[in-house]
Symmetry: C2
Amino acid sequence: METRELRYFVAVAEELHFGRAARRLGIAQPPLSRAVQQLERRLGVTLLERTSRGVALTDAGSVLLQEGRAALDAVEAAERRTRRAAAPAGSPGLVLVTKAGASTELLAKLLDAYAAEPGAVDVDVVLCGIGEQERYLRDGRADVAFLHRPFDSTIGLDTEELLTEGQVVLLPAGHPMTARPHLCVDDVAAIPGLPMPRWPRDDGSYPDGPGPEVHDNTQLLQLVALGRTTAILPESVRTHLHDDIVTVPVLDAPSVTTVIAWPPHSRSLPLAQLIRTATRL
Amino acid sequence: METRELRYFVAVAEELHFGRAARRLGIAQPPLSRAVQQLERRLGVTLLERTSRGVALTDAGSVLLQEGRAALDAVEAAERRTRRAAAPAGSPGLVLVTKAGASTELLAKLLDAYAAEPGAVDVDVVLCGIGEQERYLRDGRADVAFLHRPFDSTIGLDTEELLTEGQVVLLPAGHPMTARPHLCVDDVAAIPGLPMPRWPRDDGSYPDGPGPEVHDNTQLLQLVALGRTTAILPESVRTHLHDDIVTVPVLDAPSVTTVIAWPPHSRSLPLAQLIRTATRL
DNA sequence: GTCGTCGATACCCACCCGGTATCGCAGCTG
DNA sequence: CAGCTGCGATACCGGGTGGGTATCGACGAC
């Protein structure tokens, strides 16, 4: 199976439409039809049910979509990491990815400590959206990531725990609840007039509900300060807050563990050193 | 990057010889040279240092060898799992791989228990060589594996622990040491006339030493019964021994944990059910 | 110096990828 | 029901490229 065939099939499987998939791939529709037919012939498997009105995936097609994406990521990772390995000195030796606005203190400490080590290489920091770190590791855009259990999945990755912290609720300054020494999750959910915000799902759509739609941290903080919403976050957010937002510990919210994670087959020396530095913080 | 190019490069990188690699790939040498050159041009990276006497890998080449193998495994896995997903009923719904001769009791119990579950599918059992399970999972020849910590690496796999057991030393019946209630590793190493056997390394070669070369369990048991060697193994081997071999507990040998392991992105229902059955044993 | 080995180059043929034009089929519309 | 429209498949064509054979150039070994 060639990666070209795989890319073509994945495009069709995602669009469920040959014409759109062909446009996305920058080719005409007939060669795409032919390529997918050829793939099916070679595999001896029907991947798509075609009607004159559209396309649907078979069971085997779903499997190939899932496994094919992983395979394409692996090929892409091989390409990227090879290019980086050959890049001249001065280019980043390691790329670390983390959610924007999370664990910045810890990250700064790690980067400082690592930079002081003998033989340290340049570390690029990439900020990504929520839950995207795994993808960055799998397709080679990053070598190592900060993840936050229990929110981010760490399956398929090697990890070391760095820091566990409780969670606090963010409230606009002056809100009556800020007088309380601590709260419970149920208390927070029941606060009148402060619905929880709605974060985008993986596919980009938003769940229904009363709260405002948010997609990043600054947006969230602004909405909290404006008294439009509230949020439960790890207590380390406090270092980034002005006095227009007050935090109250939430006793029964799950504690959040920041972990450093990397693809299991990594073999790079600088990466090993960075991880060692991180575990010693 | 196309899988053909990757396969070609990996062959050359493994053989470090264009002629041999071409023979292995079933093509002539000139097209192979050209394909690798083209790959290097496309990547903008020198992968191989050529001399008129042979070939050596550059740093970038080593990275691509490592990452490329993983990528090719992923592509192969996609292909195999797709074919299997389309295979008609009656073909194996799950493939379980384990080291030959290990955990047979536990495996039998699992297969029985799972077969009794409603909606159970056929499970194929594949026996592999030592430490090969991970490869089977990565390239799609198997869906799930039995591994034995601390011997087998479980990095990059999801696992559940099934059974932890101590280890025993195997001695020929009548050996003076069999009178002892228990032994230590050092005691075993010091037994005169019974050197430890030599297992093949990953590359197939054998380490130096006085013991006999062995590559499977029956071979080992026969050599133990003949008084030529000894071995320290998990205590569950006892169910397969005749009275010509006696076991003695080894107190300070690391205990062995049998785990069931699967690739982290698995999504199959039968697999989930098999794992659930296993954890309930 | 000569020969053998190994990778690169030159050249050729056939296949296949990608393009355009068109078909066949099924809804929808009036 | 005729005709239009949208979609995937088919037919056909040209150029690129993957594969082959023959040969070269460099370097070690004898």
